[in-house]
Symmetry: C2
Subunit: 345 residues, 2 copies
């Protein structure tokens, strides 16, 4: 005569009892169905259904020595640029029944300790880093191999140490931006870059400079504005641009956000894009096609980058292969919109 007020979550023994088999059989029926006779399997499945059984993940993970989760290190969750990459990662992970832990590394540079926690295998089965500038302390642990889970870089990467990565063809993107502008007749082209020590900055700039050379154009160092991919950086660059005696007739912004900041600040000073200056962005975030003017930019396959990185990681985890370093480079696409037009000088 027992009132079951708060019936506890059913466990495997409950299912086993109801089905009249051992817990081993239940476990097998659920995770390796083909190893169990069909009739038994059906009995077990029915019992599991009836009790509402759900496997206890802590127990499973403890036994299997896995965590069932990977962590994604994001430089700044608040930045919409990353959200679609996260979406891609999540898509791939959910297929493999792996959870995604999201960690913001912004303060990580203050206290690497905090992030180091995640590098231990007890926290996560693997790591996807969207932040190429992790503290050295972290990288050295990650590459030491002793018990640290596999790590894969997406979008950004790090030149220090050998890690797998998935990224866009940034160099080609830089080149495409420049040849588009040059093709429109622009001879004086400026550039707003990311942080000077950033790998994306480096590759995009390299591609841009190569394309300038190919067009026999010279790049004036005064026309290089160094930013940090943010809206405000673009606005600051606009201020600098306004001060110039000789203004470039076109500017390649290494992120859409900087392009928006740039265009917006120019607009406040009655300089019009594209009439007075043409602007190319990079990323093709959602708002780009609705900005005024709509932004010519380089589309990065962000969702695909996320998915590829996740699949690569899942593969590492499941096969438990030693992390053979592989680099996947996905193509970018030039999207021409209203922010660029032929030079009318």
């Amino acid at each position: 005569m027992q009132l079951t007020m708060e019936s506890k979550a059913p466990k495997i023994t409950d299912v086993a009892r109801l089905a009249g088999v051992s817990t081993a059989t239940v476990s097998r029926a659920l995770s390796k169905p083909e190893t169990v006779a069909e009739s038994t399997r059906n009995t077990v499945l029915a019992a599991a259904e009836k009790t509402g059984y759900r496997v206890n993940l802590s127990a499973r993970n403890l036994r299997r020595q896995r965590t069932g989760a990977i962590v994604v290190l994001v430089p700044n969750i608040g930045n919409p640029f990353f959200s679609e990459i996260l979406a891609g990662i999540e898509t791939a992970l959910s297929e493999a029944d792996i959870n995604m832990l999201v960690v913001d590394t912004r303060q990580a540079h203050m206290k690497p300790q905090l992030v180091l926690e995640y590098l231990h295998a007890t926290r996560a089965d693997g790591i996807i880093a969207l932040d190429g500038s992790l503290p050295d302390a972290i990288l050295s642990v990650a590459s030491s191999g002793s018990g640290a889970p596999p790590i894969i870089f997406a979008c950004e990467w790090t030149p220090k140490g050998e890690f797998s990565s998935v990224r866009a063809n940034n160099t080609r993107g830089g080149a495409l931006a420049i040849s588009h502008l040059a093709g429109l007749g622009h001879r004086t082209i400026g550039m707003i870059t990311g942080p000077d020590d950033n790998v994306l900055t480096h590759d995009r700039s390299r591609g841009a400079l190569k394309a300038l050379a190919a067009e026999s154009l010279v790049f004036n160092p005064l026309h290089r504005f160094s930013g940090d991919f943010s809206l405000d950086a673009g606005a600051r660059a606009a201020q600098a641009w306004l001060q110039l005696d000789q203004r470039p007739s076109a500017v390649f912004c290494q992120s859409d956000q900087m392009a928006f900041g740039f265009i917006s600040e120019l607009a406040l000073n009655d300089v019009s894009v594209p009439d007075d200056v043409s602007v190319v962005g990079f990323d093709d975030i959602a708002i780009a096609k609705r900005f005024i003017p709509a932004l010519t930019t380089l589309r990065q396959p962000r969702k695909k980058i996320g998915m590829s990185a996740a699949r690569m990681l899942i593969n590492h985890i499941q096969t438990n292969t030693s992390p053979a370093v592989e680099t996947t480079i996905l193509e970018v696409e030039l999207i021409v919109r209203g922010s660029t037009k032929a030079f009318a000088g």
Copy 2:
């Protein structure tokens, strides 16, 4: 004479052996330091340090009957609107040493099964839902109380069932938008809403209508465009607006994204904001102040919403209180920028 190629991760017994104490003491020294004599504690800490010990979370969670993680149900991770809320949640969680699992509920409406998985206590210690329109199947499980972890709604909420929530004062926001426009002399004000069955739509509209009444203005149902908070919905509303014989001189868009879509589509048709029509948004996402024109909008304290929801949930979890329903409403702020100006009719 053993070569330790791949020394396994140290466990509590290793620390105990090195420190010359029992595992119980190690455990206590690490998690309840005050219950252990100082000298012992130092020995243990030194041993832990030396071995590089990290607690195995699966084991701890199994024993403690917790998961150490909460899940956040996001309608669409790809939507930048949510990223700052996530950032707020993450901030609060990391203080409490709890992990954040992010799950996209987009397909959830197709297969509620998938999300139901997360409602079992073995997956997460609690849930924050940013999606007010979860399938009924999910809600009923959540409110059943039997073993389901506590759930808290943030931003959105659901009228079905009693759940705690943290949200902005949407009604007041709607009212502020209208009185701002009315104060500028606009007498014919249109509105682009979210989905018809959405709670945000409902509250913002209610506030707006109340304010219209207070200003003795009548609302023409033809001036109501129903959208879904997206850029494209705004653009579609613009098309509809263009078809009108009697165009409102001002439009209240219930999200910034829709405002951008609206303004952008109007611009393509040579209608200028704010010269031809004033526009107010809602949310104040980052790009709002850099749009052209800069957008007048209602700022939601997104980060604060995230933090509050997380703290509320942490409190539920740690005190293990029965989920007493509490609703926190945070104030919105009208940010006046360039997209609205006095009616010059």
